[in-house]
């Protein structure tokens, strides 16, 4: 199982994402200026400050050459996980609904938060232990999830809300406490919390590992 981790100018958590993916498969970096996904089985768009978050977070990265391939890959059913800045890029690219806005307290926030798994049947959550919240850190300035009310209703009805901040854990004012969503087809997943920083007992909780393992498990069934 080969994960491709995209690297833009300004990406910060790419090595962390590669290390996390390497615990469940193989991981290679994919350079923003290339047009080659190198036959990876899944794409991870990691966290950081691509292009300095200039204009809007993810607004410029979304037009990088590699993103042409990622959008095509996703359109054909390929699995994409967008973490933090990756989530922002997916929204800007139209791969996911909604947008991420400035945190309601206007500040960068780092915090270990508790997340409820709302949809345990996605490709990214199916291997998780059912009913157990995930302890995963958030670290962002622009993490407040927004979509118009009617869209939010639709997301909830369709099971596209995957993760919610547990009660009193919402760090940024995201509407309906939404921390992670998937697209209608279920192959693109965006989340603000950083699962790659919850895979090693030495550095924190290991609750994030299950998201990568679920993806590997989902795809290994379809690998020849």
């Amino acid at each position: 199982m080969k994960f491709g981790v995209i690297v833009f100018p300004g990406t910060c958590d790419d090595i962390d994402a590669q290390l996390a993916c390497a615990r469940v498969g193989d991981a290679i970096p994919l350079w923003h200026a290339d047009h080659d996904l190198q036959s990876v089985d899944a794409v991870v768009i990691p966290g950081g400050f691509s292009y300095g978050d200039y204009l809007r977070a993810g607004a410029i990265a979304r037009f990088a050459p590699i993103m042409t391939e990622v959008i095509e890959f996703a359109g054909a059913g390929g699995h994409v996980m967008g973490i933090c800045n990756g989530f922002q890029i997916c929204c800007e690219a139209g791969l996911l609904p909604g947008a991420l806005l400035t945190n309601d307290n206007l500040r960068f926030v780092f915090r270990q938060v508790s997340l409820d798994v709302i949809n345990p049947d996605t490709a990214f959550t199916r291997s998780l232990e059912r009913g157990r919240p995930l302890s995963i850190p958030v670290k962002h300035t622009t993490g407040r999830f927004y979509a118009p009310e009617s869209d939010l209703d639709r997301l909830e009805q369709n099971g596209q809300v995957v993760l919610r901040y547990a009660p009193s854990q919402n760090p940024n004012g995201s509407l309906r406490d939404i921390a992670g969503v998937i697209n209608e087809q279920g192959n693109v997943f965006g989340l603000m919390p950083h699962p790659e920083h919850a895979v090693d007992p030495l550095t924190g909780s290991t609750d994030g590992l299950g998201l990568f393992a679920s993806l590997r498990d989902s795809l290994s069934g379809s690998l020849v």
């Binding site: 100018p9 300004g10 990406t11 910060c12 958590d13 090595i15 962390d16 290390l19 950081g48 400050f49 292009y51 300095g52 978050d53 200039y54 500040r107 960068f108 926030v109 780092f110 915090r111 850190p137 670290k139 300035t141 950083h194 790659e196 920083h197 090693d200 030495l202 550095t203 924190g204």
Partner: protein, 725 residues
């Protein structure tokens, strides 16, 4: 070819630029002519306090800077220590005090940017940042503003570039009201064989400038801001503040590290204070070569910049490198890959001179031994102040009740929960952080060879003000104690000496005594000084800051899985008090809250005894025989107990022996004492068992006094800094 003579009122201009009359006379004497305008601008910066260390260099030379683990000592962009298996840790602390008083967000941000560049300039990948901050009392609106903006600026830069901010400290004291202190420490990881120096070499080699374009940022910054007291007119200094771009620096950092990995460069230097004017001459001087530089080839951000502006610009995110002509293409390709602009701007020569050209026109021609090494070094005239220098603090605590006192201490700005600052920093990027802020007395990060390093930064300026010699000894011991509590052995020390105007005898005395103590402490503990920074002239109309020698230590621990924690592990564990017990109220936090003036001196410290206790703690943590260790510092024993409870939401019940005055016992301060917890026998073997961990409340019994407080009340008091953000 000699430099064109330009008629100018050199003398007056020199004074306006911050040089003294004697310094100007010396320049003229050594050059055997008057300098022209560009040359004078260069002298004014290189001979400023900030660049030349003219009031501190003679003293700094007395510090010990050798040792078996030292691989790069003072004098380079950063120092470095060996951490085994071919790895080294490069680190340094620097100040950005004066710019931050003028514009705290950008001042703090560019302070972080500057120290990051110093680290990757020696070839190390930055892996951690710590910040050491001081402001006026938290009741001051201005200090709250500076705090908010400085923390936001540090977070902005560190988070955006992807280097974790893993620790730090902040103090609120009236003497810093007009002169805040913003010190930033950076730690980097490098293969020892890959460490690079800044000495230019090889006449015929090319000088390359890469990174951001050059604009008018910080024009005159080094001379205007860092070498002068801030007076009424500092609003007019606002245009000098540099603006940082962490995105640019991220690209620059990756580019620089790749250039170094591929051995593309002969030498590398970052551009900091005084920009090209300090970087280029220093590279040439260190290498005993000369450099010709053509400013018409410098990529500019603004049109119509004057030649001297280009030379003194402090635009951020720029590096200067020396490259052999045959490797130039490789350099340009690497820069293009990382979207970093690069331009050849000069050439190494064998003239031992720096020549500044604008195209074909020669603008300045100076011998390096005069420009770089000709600055006079001043002996200080130290004499202790005849009268107290610092007014007593305002009293904020009247009550004598022990519980009320403890709650007041926990809520006091120097002790309260720093979570509201930490939360604005990313401590985990890089996946190395084992101990995040608030979990232990020092930050701990893993290394590729399976061991770990610990990092701490400390100084209690008020105690140094009471006794510059003993207060500085205490600062070093405090920092070492924090490392011991996570199981680490110090490997090297960096320091940032923040003081007032050294031309005043009482400040000279503070500086002299402090550096003497720093040397004595380092020799006693066998810790080499790897480098550091000096920030002088931190005073205003209301007087000088407390003398503040900020100490940064890096230590090693062999087994990351056994890194210590400060909070209790579980109810039932024994709690122990370790170390000689001589708590002392004068100069303590409680004394401050009671509005007491500073004492004339601090009690003597037995360094050997404290060190022995630190080693015992370190070994106990490393062997995992105890479950927690916490150094007793500000607020004394009762505060330390509360901190151990609050870190993990557990209580304790302890009984203290009679025989010492209860207030002193509970709240007195002195180095060399620790709180530990764990199994009864292990705790008893190391120290004195004073009680046990309980589920819910903090209970301290001592002669005539009982403190019994539910955790919720402690937490409420401890959360007082929330209102500052």
């Amino acid at each position: 070819m000699s430099a064109p003579a330009q008629p100018l009122d050199g003398f007056q201009r020199a004074l306006d630029l911050g040089l003294s009359a004697d310094e100007y006379a010396r320049i003229v004497e050594l050059l055997t002519r008057e300098p022209n305008a560009v040359e004078l601008a260069m002298f004014s910066l290189l001979w400023s306090e900030h660049c030349s260390y003219k009031h501190s260099k003679l003293l700094l030379k007395t510090l010990p800077s050798d040792g078996p683990r030292l691989v790069m000592g003072p004098g380079e962009n950063a120092g470095a220590v060996d951490v085994g298996d071919g790895w080294a840790i490069a680190f340094k602390v620097e100040s950005h005090n004066h710019p931050s008083a003028v514009e705290p967000f950008q001042g703090a941000a560019t302070g972080v940017g500057g120290i990051l560049r110093d680290i990757f300039a020696v070839g190390a990948r930055p892996i951690a940042i710590l910040d050491s901050l001081r402001f006026g009392e938290a009741t001051s609106e201005r200090s709250r503003y500076l705090l908010q903006r400085a923390v936001a600026g540090i977070g902005h830069y560190g988070n955006s570039i992807g280097v974790p901010t893993v620790g730090g400290e902040v103090y609120f004291e009236a003497p810093y009201e007009q002169n805040c202190l913003i010190n930033a420490m950076c730690v980097g990881l490098v293969r020892t064989d890959d460490l690079i120096r800044s000495a230019a070499a090889g006449p015929g080699n090319l000088l390359v400038l890469f990174g951001a374009s050059t604009g008018r940022d910080g024009i005159g910054g080094a001379s205007v801001l860092a070498s002068a007291e801030l007076g009424e007119a500092d609003a007019s200094k606002r245009p000098s503040v540099q603006v940082g771009d962490p995105f640019e620096e991220k690209k620059l950092m990756e580019c620089s590290l790749e250039l170094l990995r591929r051995r593309t460069l002969v030498a590398l230097q970052d551009l900091g204070a005084a920009g090209l004017t300090s970087a280029v001459p220093e590279m040439a001087s260190k290498g005993n070569v000369g450099i010709d530089i053509d400013i018409s080839r410098v990529p500019l951000r603004e049109a119509d910049m004057e030649p001297f502006e280009i030379m003194v610009s402090e635009s951020q995110e720029r590096m200067a490198g020396v490259v052999e002509p045959s490797r130039l293409n490789q350099l340009l390709e690497t820069c293009a890959h990382w979207e970093v602009e690069a331009a050849v701007i000069g050439e190494v020569t064998n003239t031992n001179r720096i020549r500044v050209f604008n195209g074909p026109e020669l603008l300045g021609d100076l011998p390096l031994d005069v420009l770089v090494d000709g600055c006079p070094l001043y002996e200080l005239n130290p004499a202790p102040a005849p009268n107290p220098l610092y007014p007593p603090p305002n009293a904020t605590l009247e009550s004598k009740d022990a519980t009320a006192t403890l709650l007041h201490l926990l809520a006091s700005s120097n002790i309260a929960d720093r979570r509201y600052l930490h939360e604005q920093y990313d401590p985990v990027v890089g996946s190395r952080t084992i101990r995040r802020p608030g979990c232990a007395d020092a930050a701990v990060l893993t290394l590729p060879n399976g061991t770990a390093i610990a990092i701490a930064i400390d100084c209690n300026g008020r105690r140094v003000a009471a006794d510059p010699y003993r207060g500085t000894i205490e600062a070093v011991l405090e920092c070492a104690a924090n490392l011991a509590c996570v199981g680490a052995q110090p490997l090297g020390l960096t320091n940032c000496l923040n003081f007032g105007n050294p031309e005043k005898p009482h400040i000279a005395w503070q500086l002299t005594e402090s550096i003497r103590a720093l040397g004595d402490a380092c020799r006693a503990l066998e810790i080499p000084v790897v480098g550091g920074n000096v920030s002088l002239y931190n005073e205003g109309p209301d007087g000088p800051i407390y003398p503040t020698p900020v100490i940064g230590l890096v230590g090693e621990l062999p087994d990351p899985t056994r890194a210590g924690r400060l909070g209790w592990a579980q109810p039932g564990d024994a709690i122990g008090l370790v170390g000689d017990f001589a708590p002392h109220l004068p100069a303590s936090e409680l004394a401050k809250l009671r509005g007491e003036p500073l004492p004339d001196s601090l009690p003597e410290v037995d360094i050997a005894k404290v060190q022995a206790t630190q080693l015992a703690i370190r070994d106990a943590v490393r062997s995992a025989t105890i479950s927690s260790a916490h150094d007793i510092a500000e607020g004394g024993l009762a505060t330390a107990l509360a901190e151990c409870c609050l870190a993990v939401d557990l209580g304790c019940e302890v009984t203290l022996e009679e025989g010492t005055e209860p207030t002193e016992l509970l709240f007195g301060e002195a180095p060399g004492r620790f709180l530990i917890s764990g199994p009864e026998t292990a705790v008893a073997a190391l120290g004195q068992v004073i009680g046990h961990v309980t589920p819910t409340a903090l209970q301290i019994n001592s002669a005539d006094t009982q403190i019994d407080v539910p955790l919720a009340r402690l937490r409420e008091a401890h959360a007082s800094l929330a209102t500052l953000f």
